[in-house]
């Protein structure tokens, strides 16, 4: 910058102004400075600026893998951050055990970020006792409340419940559930929603089947369910498994959606990864979007880390306890989708599942 100032024959501060508040400097001067910058290939030194400003304009994202719903989260946060001129800095968990919250926070604390978002797809051991490093706000995407951190979550339970309710309204009586991996929070909550809807209707919940999110595991579950002649509807915990189950049912001679209705959850990027629904023209599924929590969490974070005071110098301000408010939100961000298009209300739903009410075999 000193070179630019010299080249343009102005002071350091003027160069700074041209960069940050061009309106306050005369056009002639501004042009001179801009030309000098161009000539010298000047780029502002981000470290120095951050040092002065006390903020990085970047939020850290700890994500546990790059798969399904997590991708959606990454996508949503990247977009929301970009809108506010924030960058996102990514830490990905490598192996299953590797990254408890505290360790992730420690690593993130080393990086130039103003705050961080944990996308907690599965429960970790140190969730309860985790405390965010002072001065580095944490927002956790999880359905559980945390003692000190804000949490945000899509209402997966409500989504599953609504879907299951709709199936019940349509006359289904034996609705089975294909769960995801047992460590998945989303799977747990969807299962809870499914049970809830059945309970409300006074229906019994047959044992859920357990998959691992893969279409293969869905196929396996579907093969088992094909034996259950009573079963006329299946709630699968993601679309891969729904797809697999559908194949298995077809292979077993049970038609989808004629004999059996299948509803899946799709956390993939709705616009760019339309694999399940599209890959099988005869599939009947619902989607729920996971973009809500990601957008919300980044907003939360960016608001709270917005440039408040130019620079915090007193140790009290920098290291003192974090008195900012904590938020706990579990909202309905999900929505019903059929073949890529959003369904306004579950009432539009009947297109999905023509039901043979008690026609077939139901004793």
């Amino acid at each position: 910058m000193v070179d630019v100032a010299h080249e343009a024959g102005v002071s350091l501060k003027t160069v700074s102004r041209v960069v940050n508040e061009p309106d306050t400097v005369r056009p002639a001067t501004r042009n001179a400075v801009n030309e000098a910058m161009e000539r010298l290939g000047f780029r502002t030194n981000y470290a120095a600026r951050s040092l002065k400003l006390g903020a990085y304009k970047s939020i850290g994202l700890v994500i546990f893998d790059l798969f399904g719903g997590n991708l959606s989260v990454l996508n949503g946060i990247a977009s929301a951050a970009a809108d506010q001129g924030y960058a996102i800095t990514l830490i990905k968990r490598m192996s299953k055990e590797e990254l408890p919250l505290s360790e992730a926070a420690r690593r993130m604390g080393q990086l130039p970020v103003d705050g961080m978002i944990f996308n907690l797809a599965q429960m970790v051991d140190d969730f309860a006792e985790y405390r965010s490093p002072v001065g580095l706000r944490t927002v956790i995407i999880t359905p559980f409340e945390h003692a000190t951190c804000s949490t945000v979550s899509d209402d997966q339970e409500g989504a599953a419940r609504a879907a299951c309710r709709r199936l019940i309204e349509l006359g289904h009586r034996h609705i089975r559930f294909i769960a995801g991996t047992s460590d998945s929070l989303a799977s747990k909550n969807r299962e809870r929603g499914w049970r809830l809807a059945l309970d409300e209707a006074g229906l019994a919940a047959a044992d859920p089947l357990h998959g691992d999110w893969s279409a293969d595991s869905g196929y396996e579950a579907g093969a088992t369910l094909a034996q259950d002649q009573k079963c006329t509807a299946i709630l699968a915990c993601n679309d891969n498994m729904a797809n697999g189950a559908m194949q298995a049912l077809n292979d077993a001679g049970r038609r989808v959606p004629d004999d059996v209705s299948i509803i899946g959850f799709d956390d993939s990027l709705a616009d760019s990864v339309p694999h399940t629904i599209l890959s099988s023209p005869s599939a009947s599924t619902i989607r729920n979007s996971a973009q809500g929590p990601s957008k919300r969490s980044s907003t939360l974070l960016m608001r709270s880390t917005a440039f408040s005071s130019p620079a915090r110098s007193s140790s009290e301000a920098a290291y003192g306890p974090d008195h900012r408010s904590k938020t706990t939100e579990t909202k309905r961000w999900w929505a019903f989708f059929v073949r890529g298009t959003r369904i306004a209300e579950p009432s539009d739903f009947k297109t999905i599942s023509p039901i043979s009410d008690d026609g077939d075999k139901q004793s």
Copy 2:
């Protein structure tokens, strides 16, 4: 840090040493400092450190969307970076037109990164005239050579060629191609490889069909190809389309793989997004991994931006021309996969496609 030093009764420099080179400070002192840090919740200020060191230990990644192969790239770079203690900072293109290289570079130049990687899934207008900002090395993942930037690329052409060759070896004579979107570089190169193999064998290349990566478009193409009775093998530009085509063929009464062999390309994360192959138990496909270029490009970048001199002060060093070497690499990083497992050589391949050599209709 000054608070920690005061609390522990030592100098600033000693605190710095405890953080960076703990071995050089006596255990007693070290403990005192560590306790003080603990008590005060001290985190090193990354901006200040970077300011002194002249490096951020972070690489920027410009990615055009979060889909298919790009995901794989993100994954690979994130892993490689983490191994070296680097963070990655992500910029995602929002809309189709939004982000030419120069604009992306400008934005990235604002961020605390030591270098950047462009994952160029499609050709952009300003590719040729793009020049990386001085002091901020660029590596581009693309099959094209660039005048000043290093480029890295998986040999997509070679992969398609090898796949097509294998089909020819197996007796196929009419092998058709389903292309991806026309702006895709990968699609272009795979098409080239397909043509090459056919040329080499003296076979004619029927017009390629054009999809948009979606299974729907693959279905459509498959429906068309089902009419072509001569066609016994299909090379689809990704697995989604392969899957769609397979469905269409099945629906048209042509069995896969009995009547028609289908080979797809899968750029998804091989380990975590096994949708196509797994979703259809009867599919026969190949995969090629895209992790190679991502790993290589980040290595390239991290090597070239490694802490050379503690801090660059002279304007010559900071803003002078970039004399570092440029690399252009197009390697065979791809590999054949069948149902999730790697096939050592195309010779293991015959399991895929039982062929009715000239039995059927081939005049």
